[in-house]
Symmetry: C2
Subunit: 155 residues, 2 copies
DNA sequence: TCCTTCATGTAATAGGTTACATGATTTC
DNA sequence: GAAATCATGTAACCTATTACATGAAGGA
């Protein structure tokens, strides 16, 4: 603790303090493709949402602006068709470094689960058993659908 | 759809539009005990947090005020010791009805998981394998601790 | 012709955290 | 004598959602 003068082993100093959502968006960019905000929303819905929820579209644009301001991402405007344009974002070198440092940080926030169905099950003492069973089956059915959709999208 | 004039089968009309957190707090109250805001925070940390995250203390007091304003909960002041007082909350009949209606509602919000560790694993291409393994073991260790604590509290 | 996809954002509002403040009592 | 527990909130701030707005292209 009271060692030398360059005791800066800890990476905290080069990890900008931005919300986890920003890291998630930067993470999507870290796979190397140039993407529009719209693309990122679709990736979030399809993938991220399984382990880290999908932010609203407007939130994604907000995070992209933030990342660009911090120099963690860059944008450029390219043609969409003869008439219109679109803005694609890419991760920068600084972005990769920052993301790596964040990735390596042990102090990961405690996982948070917000499960409306489980919450309802926990309140099962207020429900008729048949109704509760129905709710769970309903949930199961929706999960299966989601699973199929996920399988399709990775095929 | 174009049936009779009292076509109010749907329970939506008697389910006040309050955030899920409010339902969770009311849910804790639905187990029948009179509790202080402080008590509820402890219950949240110990139980709720496994399937529905634990709100900040100040948030819990906010929700209690909201519930009382809507008549879903009542409060009364009782003695804490010779000098001080405390406010305990209880669910009302209206509260039970509302909670039952909410419980029975099929349109449960999609479950949301915010898992910082999984997010980091997903970004594994940025990490050294050993480091990543270490992170997962670390997470596992913390989970075990939590499990033990949970076992103790239910013993 | 109408709906869906692609694409980007603003404005209003709600939901939620952090920091701060206070203070008696009980336990170590 | 110090630290943890019990107990309740306010104020400042940030995070995030919803509603709204716009508009071309392409498929049904």
């Amino acid at each position: 603790m009271s060692g030398g003068n360059t005791d800066l082993k800890n990476a905290d100093l080069v990890i900008p303090k931005i919300p986890a959502t920003a890291w998630a968006v930067l993470g999507i960019l870290s796979f190397g493709r140039e993407l529009t905000g719209y693309d990122i929303k679709n990736w979030s819905d399809a993938i991220l949402h399984f382990f880290y929820w999908s932010p609203a579209t407007s939130q994604i644009y907000t995070e992209l602006h933030r990342l660009e301001e911090l120099g963690l991402a860059t944008s450029r405007t390219i043609a969409r068709d003869d008439v219109r344009e679109k803005t694609v974002y890419a991760i920068t070198e600084n972005g990769v470094t920052a993301l790596q440092n964040w990735q390596a940080d042990v102090n990961a926030e405690a996982p948070v689960l917000k499960h409306g169905v489980l919450l309802r099950v926990w309140l099962g003492h207020l429900a008729e058993p048949d109704r509760l069973r129905e709710q769970i089956l309903d949930h199961r059915f929706r999960l299966m659908e989601e699973l199929d959709a996920a399988k399709d999208s990775s095929a």
